[in-house]
């Protein structure tokens, strides 16, 4: 029982080939689009590489890039097939390749679906990675003289100003870290000595934040130091002051940014999947219709096109049997592959002899 049979006259076959040729070129451009999307996402992730601890999230743009390149190649092959499909002498050489093409196209669609799913599923891992990365960034903020960390200050300042955020969860993260380097602390001053003695680790902690946390939209000049002390500033209430610094934490800001980016690419990827599937189905119809036409006495007559020759279950059974055959062939056959007639008795004798003599182990 054939799946989704359709009749094709010569004219319809020609139209199908032409339409499919155009659609395949369109699919090539979609593949290029997916590749560029992957590159864009990768560059955006690499730009903030210093505040991310691991690169697990990079699997999304990597898959996009691979799928984009593969899709360009596959769809280009489809255009060549379409060009040759109406020429009876050139079409047969594509027969073998077409089965592999269908498998490749299905694989590409599955990978694209996987990308969409992954971009949602990896959100938790991204947050974890950012949490650790930002914590380290804030801890090493003061180490502008340590090679390998000397640009952490600039990175964190730039990040906070660009994403309008402060600290990891919020600005209070800066109160728990010494972010002023010892080189700029006057150890003879009483204030400094008191602060260092006030905590177990001997760090210079203060209720102040770097200037990059300042909110330009605040109506008053930025208050950076003595933030929890209401009496230190005129007309200032620490609990109700919202505009002075950025309220968001940088982890939240960055996660939102990347999730927005990946969600906005979602519809594009889904439409590329749809286009690829339609190219797949159309090519299958074209293949079966042209093959049917070539088998007729009159090649210009009507032929049938279908998706699957037998039903879904039967095709699946056939495919499974074929795959098992191939696997069996690869295995070593215990009964010798080419027994000569004379040797059969000899082998039978040797086996019985072997069975007769008891093995030492038993």
């Amino acid at each position: 029982m054939v799946l989704l049979k359709m009749k094709f006259t010569q004219q319809r076959r020609v139209r199908l080939a032409q339409g499919l040729w155009l659609m395949s070129w369109f699919a090539v451009m979609c593949g290029a689009f997916v590749f560029c999307l992957g590159i864009y996402l990768k560059t955006e992730l690499l730009r903030r590489d210093e505040v991310m601890e691991n690169t697990e999230i990079h699997v999304v743009p990597n898959i996009l890039m691979m799928v984009g390149l593969a899709s360009i190649g596959t769809n280009w092959v489809a255009t060549r097939v379409c060009q040759d499909s109406l020429d009876a002498s050139r079409f047969p050489r594509w027969k073998v390749l077409l089965m592999a093409w269908f498998a490749a196209a299905v694989l590409l669609c599955c990978l694209l679906l996987a990308v969409v799913v992954l971009s949602y599923a990896l959100q938790g891992r991204l947050e974890e990675s950012l949490k650790v990365g930002l914590r380290n960034g804030i801890r090493f903020y003061k180490d502008t003289d340590v090679p390998g960390r000397c640009f952490q200050k600039e990175t964190i300042d730039h990040l906070q100003m660009e994403f309008r955020c402060c600290g990891n969860n919020n600005f209070k993260d800066w109160f728990e870290v010494q972010w002023v380097s010892n080189r700029y602390l006057d150890f003879t001053s009483k204030d400094v000595k008191d602060r260092i003695r006030s905590n177990v680790d001997g760090r210079y902690l203060l209720d102040g934040v770097p200037f990059s946390c300042c909110n330009p939209a605040s109506p008053r000049p930025c208050l950076q130091y003595h933030l929890t002390d209401n009496s230190a500033h005129y007309n200032y209430d620490y609990q109700s002051e919202e505009l002075n610094l950025y309220n968001r934490g940088c982890r939240q800001a960055l996660t939102d940014y990347y999730m927005d980016l990946m969600n906005s690419t979602g519809p594009g990827v889904l439409s590329v999947i749809l286009i690829q599937m339609s190219v797949l189905f159309s090519l299958r119809y074209l293949q079966t219709a042209v093959e049917g036409a070539m088998a007729l006495e009159n090649p210009e007559g009507e032929s049938e096109g279908y998706l699957l020759e037998k039903g879904v279950k039967e095709t699946f059974k056939d495919v499974k049997a074929k795959v098992l055959d191939v696997l069996k062939f690869a295995q070593v056959d215990p009964a010798a592959a080419e027994p000569s007639p004379g040797n059969e008795e000899k082998t039978a004798d040797t086996t019985t002899e072997k069975a007769a003599t008891p093995t030492p182990a038993s």
Binding site: K153, S181, R183, F211, P216, P219, Y234
Partner: protein, 366 residues
């Protein structure tokens, strides 16, 4: 004696017409590019409109937009004309329009040249506008409660952060104005009152700058207050400290930014002007060669094309005479006190002699 005479066969005329058709369409695209460059410049200037005093700087993008639109229209028409010039019958449609079109386009290219030159000469205007604008903006930095000025603080802060600059000429400009609003100053404190009394105008001046002047490349946390006081901070010397704040003044930075944009745009306009001029030359040759072909009668024959029929001086003289006679025709004769109803023999009419000549005596002959 024609200027730059060139012989054209039928095939070379056709090739010229086709080439000019393509070039005219390319010119339409360049006209659209000019239009979009004008819009881009307008948007960039309006983005910082609060920091510039309203001066003649808006003429440049407006000129570019107008020139771009007119160039698109002219070259579209030119494309149509050249497309029809391949066929001599279709050319007859355009015969009357093509010469005025060429003259109009020739004068239009002057406008384009003016537009390009304006891009290069706006430097002084722009600097003056920015100077006054930035001074005003810094003065009203603290007025976040005054309607109309409440976003000036954010504008100046974002400007200093984005362009990496501080103040008008340098960070010292902030020392000369009060940039902290009185709402946030505790007038009961002695120190505040002393500062107010320390200058003639009664302003709270301090040697401090807003946070947006801080340089993110500095290895130490930003020093914003008591900048000139070396003893207020550990291991700090304000004369040699270069990385703490942004050193450049915002006026210079913005001037460089806009000058760079306008110079690039000016270069594009100059190149477009040269291109338009060459297309116009081609159209003139095509027009004169087709005119001569029609004069000769045989559409497939060879003909001459030129830029000007006579030399430059003669052409200028004849044109001036035409303009003069046009003016004289229109002038009203003052002898009749400006009344057009009085029948006065006009100098424009062909002279067939005076009106009241008595008939000749024929009796003499006979």
């Amino acid at each position: 004696m024609a200027v730059l005479r060139v012989k054209f066969t039928k095939t070379s005329r056709d090739k010229l017409a086709q080439l000019l058709w393509i070039l005219n369409w390319i010119s339409v695209v360049t006209g659209a590019i000019l239009f979009s460059l004008g819009i881009f410049l307008k948007v960039e200037i309006n983005k910082r409109a609060e920091l510039m005093v309203e001066r003649d700087i808006q003429y440049v993008p407006n000129m570019l937009v107008a020139v771009g639109l007119i160039a698109c229209a002219i070259n579209f028409l030119g494309g149509k004309i050249c497309y029809d010039c391949v066929d001599t019958t279709k050319f007859l449609r355009w015969k009357l329009i093509i010469l005025p079109y060429i003259i109009f386009t020739f004068f239009f290219t002057f406008c384009m040249l003016v537009g390009a030159l304006m891009c290069y000469t706006m430097h002084g205007e722009l600097e003056e506008s920015l100077n006054v604008g930035l001074t005003e903006a810094m003065r009203f930095y603290k007025d976040t409660d005054t309607p109309g000025r409440c976003f000036l603080k954010r504008t100046v802060d974002m400007l200093q952060i984005h362009f990496q600059c501080c103040g008008n000429n340098g960070y010292r400009d902030w020392f000369q104005i009060q940039w902290i609003s009185n709402r946030y100053l505790d007038m009961s404190q002695k120190e505040v009152v002393d500062r107010f009394r320390s200058n003639v105008e009664g302003k709270y001046l301090m040697d401090g700058v807003p946070f947006s002047c801080c340089n993110i490349n500095s290895p130490r946390p930003c020093i914003q207050q008591q900048i000139t006081n070396n003893s207020a901070h550990f291991n700090y010397e304000h004369q040699t400290e270069e990385l703490n704040l942004w050193m450049k003044g915002c006026r210079q930075v913005l001037l460089e930014y806009y000058t760079h944009i306008m110079q690039s745009i000016g270069l594009t306009v100059l190149i477009t002007w040269l291109f338009e001029l060459s297309v116009l030359t081609g159209v003139r040759y095509l027009q004169t060669s087709l005119k001569n072909v029609l004069k000769q009668g045989d559409p497939d024959s060879e003909s001459d094309g030129w830029l000007l029929e006579n030399s430059l001086m003669e052409t200028a003289r004849t044109n001036l005479n035409i303009i003069k006679s046009l003016c004289k025709c229109n002038q009203i004769d003052t002898a009749s006190n400006g009344d057009p109803n009085i029948n006065v023999p006009s100098t424009c009419k062909a002279l067939y002699g005076p009106d009241n000549v008595p008939p000749k005596a024929t009796t003499e002959a006979s």
